[in-house]
Amino acid sequence: MSVSVQQADFDVGAEIAALSRGYPEIGAVASFVGLVRNANDGAGISAMSLEHYPGMTEKALEEIVEEARSRWSLNTVRVIHRFGRLEPGDNIVFVGVGSAHRGEAFAACEFIMDYLKTRAPFWKREETPDGARWVDARECDDGAAARWDEIEIRR
């Protein structure tokens, strides 16, 4: 099971350890953890709620993983994205990749995050001292995802 969409928290250490267990050919594990920040766009954030599109979310994440697997030689991939109400310091997302070498693991991990940011149907609503507000998408996220169309695979 490489993709999970869940309300519950995850154990980062256990997830990283699981990526290479039973794969002696893996020489590199790269991972990313996204967390809830206590401030955004000049306002303090006391909590955030993540809405998603059940059904499509899982499909979108699985497609992103498949795309990463077609670009790099990867042994293991794990993506976990939470939904529901989260507070500063809470985990939001985990991406982990196991591969023979670090170049592919780093690249695939970043690629999955960049694509997830623009393709996975999640929406954040922040609670600030002035009330709740939906987070606006950032143009730089589109740019980060688009650059993978041009980047040469480095090993």
């Binding site: 809405e51 599109y53 059904g55 499909k59 939001i92 996975a120 149907p121 999640f122 954040k124």
Partner: protein, 84 residues
């Protein structure tokens, strides 16, 4: 037969519903045409007007406005995504 339409996040709040079932109106053959049709329902629906930042999915895959719509489809409209 009809289409199931879903709305998410700020768009769901703007139109005041999360989903509905609709018989495909005459002249509506694409996702973009469906969006334009819905946008003319009244003030609350202006969030769906052309030029607004709206994304769409057909049967749980993100698509462009030129994507065809047929009876039985699940169409979703939502703002640009902000996960991660």
């Amino acid at each position: 037969m009809s289409v199931r339409i879903l709305y998410f996040a700020a768009l769901r709040e703007a139109v005041g519903r999360s989903e509905e079932s609709l018989s495909l109106p005459v002249g509506v053959a694409t996702v973009g045409e469906l969006q334009s049709f819905l946008a003319m329902r009244g003030e609350a629906w202006e969030a769906l007007r052309a030029g607004r930042n709206v994304r769409a999915a057909r049967n749980q895959r993100m698509v462009k406005g030129s994507e065809p719509v047929v009876s039985g489809d699940e169409i979703a409209f939502f703002p640009p995504v902000t996960g991660g």
